[in-house]
Symmetry: C2
Subunit: 195 residues, 2 copies
DNA sequence: CGAAACGTTGATCGTCATCAATGACGGTGG
DNA sequence: CCACCGTCATTGATGACGATCAACGTTTCG
């Protein structure tokens, strides 16, 4: 549920790997603050040093859909930078978040000249794509209870960090429906006093 | 609906760009034949030269979910190769398909040494991720009619190529529901005699 | 001053009604 | 025979409304 990327985290935790790039610096975000704004052009990428952020889309009908929760090592904004497009989703800090900020040009420089960095980026993208595709398929083909069950089993501890609204948006359902389903599951399943 | 990638297509249409790699060769697939089998380890990637293929997941409950339809220039199998994993989805030729086949090792060589190729791959991944994410969000937050409407408007001509079952699986709905919705829409909307 | 009483607010749940999507079954037409 | 549709029943998810309860701050009274 919360994605991380150890490879990138390790890479950036060694300052030597990037200190020659001017624009790279640490940035702080308070809970609720946005790292990326939906509809804006992408001028930089972030790699999360610590904290948790949610990536979500606000649809025209007002509904929110949570693409993913990101934490240490995850790459943000790379899609927009690579394709020269505006961002289709927003990223907001849920906890205090610290990132490594990288300007667009430096990001491209690193891709071209810093050994292995392009592979790391490609792998990060491939993993995201894989996870997204698997999740999509599951959520489309199974009812709420099944998906919620899976989610709770995987991450009942982590789930405490999120508001129920966020979890509902992640599952693509209403808060009301989430509560209803949780209620039903408590009767049947193992997790009596979770969440 | 049918994705293409001109950048990669152009690159591979110039034979000089890749003729020094031993494993690269053209491969042919007849309609119904599989380019990638779900659950198998990824040992190669394909770039489609011509034809149309569908990428889909068979879930444990027997349902099929179509991730995407791919055509000229699209990259297949890169996720598995980059992450050293088994494929979570299958790819099957819908029409006659011709691909550029690239063995795993050559793919990595090209990423490292052939100028600009790694950027092309990253961009291809980024585009796929973007499209997938946008589609997911839409399908989760809008009813069938809305999504189907959008799909028909974008690609009423292309749609003739596919079986209705595939379109239904792409939308994550039943064939029955697809027919029902189409019927309803014909009464209301512009496309009287489509599909 | 401090404690009890009050009102406000937000989150959750019971209930009922509604809509969206599916399933079943039989009929029709190419 | 198969693809499609009419019909009806059913399940899944949502929406609306009111009741409840806990949290919190404010008021009131001894």
């Amino acid at each position: 549920m919360i994605r991380t990327n150890n490879e990138l985290l390790n890479f950036f935790s060694r300052r030597d790997n990037w200190k020659r790039y001017d624009t790279i610096q640490e940035k702080q975000f308070k809970p609720g603050q946005k790292l990326i704004v939906q509809g804006k052009e992408g001028r930089c990428v972030h790699i999360i040093k610590k904290g948790i952020a949610k990536c979500f889309v606000r649809e025209e009908n007002g509904k929110e859909f949570v693409q993913e929760f990101f934490s240490a090592g995850e790459l943000l904004g790379e899609i927009e930078v690579l394709n020269n497009t505006c961002s289709f989703s927003a990223v907001m800090a849920l906890t205090e978040v610290v990132t490594y900020y990288i300007g667009k040009d430096d990001f491209y420089s690193m891709m071209q000249s810093t050994g292995g960095f392009n592979l790391m980026v490609s792998r990060a993208l491939a993993t995201k794509l894989r996870d997204t595709a698997i999740r999509t398929s599951h959520q489309q083909t199974y009812p709420i209870a099944h998906n919620l069950n899976k989610l709770v089993q995987l991450s009942s501890k982590q789930a405490e960090m999120f508001s129920k609204k966020d979890i509902a948006d992640y599952l693509g359902i209403t808060l009301r429906s989430l509560n209803r389903t949780l209620k039903q599951m408590k009767g049947i399943d193992i997790f009596k006093e979770e969440m």
